[in-house]
Amino acid sequence: MSETTGGVEFDEDSAGVVKKFMFVNRKAPYGTVYALEGLEVVLISAAFDQDVSMVFMDDGVYELIKGQHTKSINVKNFSPTYRALEGYDIEKLYVDKESMDMRGLTVDNLIVPVEVLTAAEMGELMDQQDVVISF
């Protein structure tokens, strides 16, 4: 069992197969666990050399807000982990334009560089995926 691959002996069935994985985040951080545990899946996926994209829509865009200080709610601040994704070769981060606009946010509010997509562009990107995991 390999810790880096999350308990998987990488066998011949999987070796060499590269699929487009999209992770969809639509929930805000801290109010529920989905953002944190979702990020843990993305980090593990890095070990499998797949073509990974992360999409932030609706309240999911709040996961990327700069300046999160969680000491007073006594919960781990995991937002720095989004900056570490680049080191894992996970660089395709997309936010939904309308979700940002509705919330009065711009890319300057965010902790990492992202590409802003319209609904049509988002739909097209989603259609290209092999595996879509939502949390």
């Binding site: 609706d58 939904d96 319209t118 609904a119 739909g123 989603m126 259609d127 995926q129 879509v132």
Partner: protein
Amino acid sequence: MLHIVNKSPFENSTLDSCLRVIGATKGGALLLTEDAVYAATKGSAVEAKIKAVSGNVLVYALWPDLEARGMQDMCIDGVKFVDYGGFVDLVAEHNSVQSWL
């Protein structure tokens, strides 16, 4: 792509977000399951939104969930019904599947 929504449109904005994306693309299908079957109700505030995307995608509702909720006689014309076997077929027929959570 097969899009699956399972929350009531009156509870949260999941269906709205899904419709916004699929409304801007062509092809694919939308399957309403669990509490999202309420979106298939004739005469509801959501009917127009469902009809608006019906030109782009095929809209399905999971029949067992409609029946469980007593909504089986109140559906929008044109929404197709599937059972769990049909649900499986839909997933198999489309090249990918996305659950909107």
